[in-house]
Symmetry: C2
Subunit: 542 residues, 2 copies
């Protein structure tokens, strides 16, 4: 017997309708590609989304056609998202930092019919355009511009397109499992793989990330997603912001520390989200600019582990609570967030702080387990010590990659994340390493992440990476790559001595190498693959 | 094209599994029928739920069979809920304060196969048992008791039943729109009508009520649902508590102020939920017992408007934030909660406080409109002034009453709530009155709620109700019924003078009548229907 309640599909268009109706005058602040600021609000975003939906309709697209975006976090990009998914098309967000051949592969693989882009990306698009045989419409997210028209002859301009359209558009209703958006993984091996989100998965994810024990989002908040909209949908915040009616500050292309300090202080940002490299820049700039970041109550760190020194700086200098979180493209992305439980508040403050370095625990809707092999179904103990392969299930977890003919899951329907981790009895997750970044020395595993965290705790170290170098006797040994702070005179012997008494002797890296710049990937992470290529054989040549 | 994400049905069994796995040691405090306290936790609740699921399975029930409960808020009742719905049966919660003939009607109408009850209700059940021809199993939520066995010869006892069963039970998976629970409205006219909730509606409602701008529930919280589990599922809190892993304090049968003060202070309750009459008792008892209710951060008031004096007492004496909320059996119940927005914090404190008297604004998942007639589709202005018929849509709103052959909705699929209300531009709802409680005097409407609030602001008034009395000239005129505080010597002329300069002269009640006791219904509300019967013709006899 079914319940006798109303049935309504969970649709992304409901999110923008809710924001328009109940939070119409709530600010959307947007930094444009030219650095100017546009002040808008949810009502205007909703109206422009409907105008742009009329534009897309005029192109004759049909349900589930792909519309690609290569754009910064800004209001036009936000409007286009709601227009695309709300219309029943698939919003394909593309990382502009990919190589040209990767861009061509992704756009053709997705069968994108429309390509929307910010001016910043005109050079790359004009370079690859001839290879994008399936794209029928190129739209620059800006006002008319002769230079852009010269570079991309048949380009259309967003502002002119929407100005020609009515704000009247009835969001269509369709089945909630319909695909809503598409994001390709950065793909460290082989071609990038697409994750195809649905309306249902996106709306349920929005509820989950807004909960008090997740990002705690409300209409009191002004949030700054520094994490790009092309990187797992800015961790879902543009959807959740509409759900709860919070204000958004969209930083556009300027992600340097000083620009972020100005945005936080001027628009009273209460929460910001990004990767550790972003926070490093923010903390330095805040110090230089003498800003206390007074409005900032909390920041979310994902993408990589947050060094202890960074978390302490946020807490002690800025009275800002740093929340560790973990997820990936395949998990929409929220897997876990680190929020303490009631019982933890009885602990001493130092003990509480230590707990914050775990990645966190899952919201309702996510299940985790640690198995003894990546295809395995044997769970290891949840004792906070036993490591194994992290696997995940939930309403917003990938099932099959876009276009793939076989499942991405284990035989019993879990997704293996590729991470090595522990779980404790409360369900707190601790990521030890990526499975592929573990170092196997003489049959024993060494965690590269642990070695990096120790290096990062040295005041002269700005960035650190530990790789597995091939070793004639031990198979692999850890090698530390360091970028030191400007003006530092750190020696290899000193940084290696920094490991003494912190870990077992046999785990200390064999070598420390100083570099001028770290290779950084499209999502702000250090490209260990490149470092392995460059330094992976260095112990052989001794 | 569908998204390629995992599909899992939204099921109530997932809630208890989540609480068991990630919040196993979080306390569940329960006051038993005999006044003793049982300390349990989510892991034990989950285990006993599985044991009781095995009991129900041994009865040979089939999917969607109804299992009724007549019980207080306690741990056994909580366990039985998860066992019943988690197994795919329908948990039919019954209000024990109904008249015997109403209980018989409801139990037979629902076709209940099993009846679960607390000892308190042995007398009424033994009285009506002969009329309950379809009930096959009577289960007392307690240990074996000879007196109960004597009164109900074939009774079984919960404790013995579950002790005989294994904790191994695999929660079955079924379609998420399957019915999960059933609650009858109090039914002021005609027979009570059943609202049949689904697993999907319950889980989505749990997400929505846990949001920061709803009840703001997290694993930091210890919540005390004073509102009974038989009254719209204790406003959904037993489900949401499992979702977020908060601690529960279940007050059993003792809902007097002193008992609640002791529970709040002893178990450090952070949030409590109930109707105004409960809070009146709590505030008086806290004063007498000299308790500051230090742990209580917020309380939710629903069921009736919260008098200003009460909200001020919570704020000023107890530093407790009072949240107005509105809903009904047909809305699961959450329609709106009053949480302020960022812009309101720029207002003076007194202005902010005034805003808190609206019922609130809807979470994502609910839409509201005010129409010019109860069947009408013409929306009136959202100006905070224009009153009309409140209508609602959403994932957890009734569609059709249990067993009814026609929809409960308007021609365009909205549910008319029977309330007269305004909406403002931010979506804040203000209930003016129940449509049936409005007083029509000489063609002009007078709100009984407004007149009651003014009476309640007089320090000598403990309870007040305003009814429409038949009038030979004006059709209807307001008559005020007052219960004064013990020891007060209030005169009718004084309480009527209290209205001067607060409202227009023609709206002041014609008469004030003092009563020793107010007729209170099963859900703690004043039964205006009874007052109208008693006093509705009083102006004719002048």
């Amino acid at each position: 017997m079914n319940g006798n309640m109303m049935f309504q599909p969970l649709l992304i268009s409901n999110l923008i309708q809710h924001a328009e109706t109940y939070h119409g005058d709530t600010s959307i602040i947007s930094k444009n590609t030219d650095g100017s600021i546009t002040q808008s609000n949810w009502a205007q975003v909703a109206q422009n989304a409907k105008r742009f939906a009329n534009v897309l309709q005029s192109f004759g697209l049909t349900l589930s056609d792909r519309v690609a975006t290569i754009a910064w976090n800004n209001h036009r990009h936000l409007e286009s998202w709601y227009a695309i998914s709300g219309s029943g098309f698939i919003c394909h967000t593309i990382n502009p930092r990919l190589f040209p051949e990767q861009l061509i592969y992704i756009i053709n693989d997705a069968d994108d019919k429309v390509l929307i882009f910010d001016k910043t990306f005109v050079p790359i698009i004009s370079q690859i355009k001839a290879s994008l045989t399936k794209v029928e419409h190129f739209i620059c997210l800006d006002a008319d511009d002769a230079i852009v028209s010269a570079a991309i002859p048949d380009v259309k301009f967003y502002d002119a397109l929407i100005q020609a359209q009515s704000v009247n558009f009835a969001w269509p209703e369709f089945e909630e499992n319909t695909a809503s958006s598409l994001c390709y993984t950065s793909g460290t091996t082989g071609n990038p793989k697409g994750v195809l989100y649905s309306h249902r998965s996106t709306v349920l994810h929005s509820y989950a990330i807004s909960l008090p024990d997740s990002f705690n989002l409300s209409a009191h908040d002004t949030i700054l997603p520094v994490v790009p909209m092309f990187h797992v949908n800015a961790w879902g915040t543009p959807y959740a912001a509409a759900m709860v009616g919070c204000s958004l500050v969209l930083p556009g292309p300027m992600l340097d520390g000083a620009s972020l300090v100005h945005l936080i202080d001027q628009y009273k940002v209460s929460m910001a989200l990004g990767v550790p490299t972003i926070w490093q820049g923010l903390l330095s700039a805040a110090q230089q600019l003498n800003s206390r970041l007074d409005s900032l109550e909390r920041n979310v760190v994902g993408g990589a582990a947050c060094p202890q020194s960074m978390m302490e700086a946020f807490r002690d200098v800025h009275q800002c609570e740093t929340l560790h979180a973990w997820g990936m493209t395949e998990t929409s992305p929220l897997g876990v967030v680190n929020q303490l439980k009631a019982k933890h508040y009885d602990l001493a403050e130092a003990e509480q702080f230590k707990l914050r370095f775990a990645q966190g625990r899952p919201p309702f809707g996510i299940s985790l387990r640690i198995c003894d092999s990546e295809n395995g179904v044997n769970e290891v103990q949840r004792d906070g010590k036993t490591t194994g392969h992290l696997q995940i299930q939930g309403h917003w977890i990938v099932n099959t990659y876009f276009g793939a003919d076989k499942t991405a899951l284990t035989s019993d329907a879990w997704f293996d994340t590729g991470d090595i981790a522990t779980l404790d009895q409360d369900g707190y997750l601790n990521i030890a390493d990526r499975a592929k970044d573990l170092i196997k020395s003489g049959g024993e595993w060494i965690s590269s992440v642990e070695l990096e965290n120790i290096a990062m705790s040295h005041p002269d170290v700005e960035a650190a990476a530990v790789i597995a170098a091939i070793h004639p006797k031990w198979d692999e040994r850890p090698v530390l790559i360091v970028k030191q702070r400007t003006g530092s005179q750190l020696k290899a012997s000193e940084i290696l001595a920094h490991y003494n008494n912190k870990i077992a002797k046999w785990q200390i890296p064999d070598r420390a190498i100083f570099v001028e710049t770290m290779p950084i990937g499209g999502t702000g992470k250090i490209l260990k693959k490149d470092l392995r290529q460059q330094f992976g054989s260095i112990l052989l040549s001794v």
